[in-house]
Symmetry: C2
Subunit: 213 residues, 2 copies
Amino acid sequence: MPAKTPAKTPAKALTLTEQARRAQLIGVTVDLIARHHYSGTSLARIAEAAGISKAAVLYHFPSKDAVVRAAYDSVIEALTGHIGAAIGTRTGAAALEAYIRSLVGHLRDHPAHTRMIVEAISEDAEVEDTPHAPGRQASVAALIAAGRDAGDYRRDVDPAVTAVIVNGALDGIVSENLADPAFDTAAAAENLIDLLRRSLRPSPPGEDTSPVA
Amino acid sequence: MPAKTPAKTPAKALTLTEQARRAQLIGVTVDLIARHHYSGTSLARIAEAAGISKAAVLYHFPSKDAVVRAAYDSVIEALTGHIGAAIGTRTGAAALEAYIRSLVGHLRDHPAHTRMIVEAISEDAEVEDTPHAPGRQASVAALIAAGRDAGDYRRDVDPAVTAVIVNGALDGIVSENLADPAFDTAAAAENLIDLLRRSLRPSPPGEDTSPVA
DNA sequence: AAGCTTCCTTACCATGCGGTCAGAATACTG
DNA sequence: CAGTATTCTGACCGCATGGTAAGGAAGCTT
């Protein structure tokens, strides 16, 4: 029985070289996509960048798409890991602000990751029901809802809509930094945090509370 | 002298069928890109969708890229025209709010345009120094600066950074609507406007004015 | 050293791509 | 109706793509 994809029953039978190659391929693929977009990243270029042949790449991965997917997953995992660690045990407004700062900080420190994520809108496969992070909006909405229930925010804020706005603003900051590397993302993050503080804080007594026109 | 690209000296020597074909090709290209992304939109598919041969497409346009570019330009022009008309002679905060409402409204009414714009990040040409609308951030920043100078906004708002945040939030709203057509973009736009009103308005007397931590 | 597994290369294939070319329709104009 | 400019087709070209087949080299285990 010649082993096809090395896996006996659990996911532990990975050779050392296998792991190294996979990591290397994922690395060069992230770089290539960051430089030449998704559609411009071919199997041959991945192989060339790794110093091996196309067939060798397809020995470690079942298809080119699998390589790209693995690269994308690794980037996303690094991001979510960083954010999760930054939030830690924080709650309420502090958690949301940690989310904003850690996301912007991580993507500022990893431009290749950033380019890859930003360009990961459509990919090549037409059947892709998970365009972005799946629960991203929901996660931030939960953060906002918790902050509201904790009294950090007005009671009439809409967590879902606000999450869309916050995530969009974050993407805008990150994207702007790609277009203009001199753009101060940290300052922009603080600006966004200040903006949210002013607009989401509970109304002082004697002030109109109508949220929507 | 066989005419190559019909143009004598001014830009008026366009045959009727020429105009019609160009418009048709632009139309089907917008639809195709909206459905199959940029990289999945080939010359053959454009020709097939238009009911003519590949060579016929290349008779009306010098290259496939030119078709795509024309389609993109037409979509952008429609959008900027709509927004410009909506802003009209408005100034200050009213102008920014008209901008937000008209952008969201237009893109809600034209989903194909929306998909095309959203996916127009990288295109296929690697040498593309105009990734998005060139002066979009600057235009909104000017709007905000005018609103600030008119007294609608705090004196210490940063127009450039705020413009990035606002445009990002708008993109977030539009993108969310693509992922979830049931998302109420009009309500989200009003929510964003309310958020901006609360955070950008001049500070009432007796309140801290420190903008950034 | 034999033998098996792992790892990789060269050569190849079918397909789709953008684009060209010669010439046939089609339409406009005298 | 003749002639010319416009519009279009079908066949073709060179190239890059993702993927496969067959076999050779390297290393581990006995």
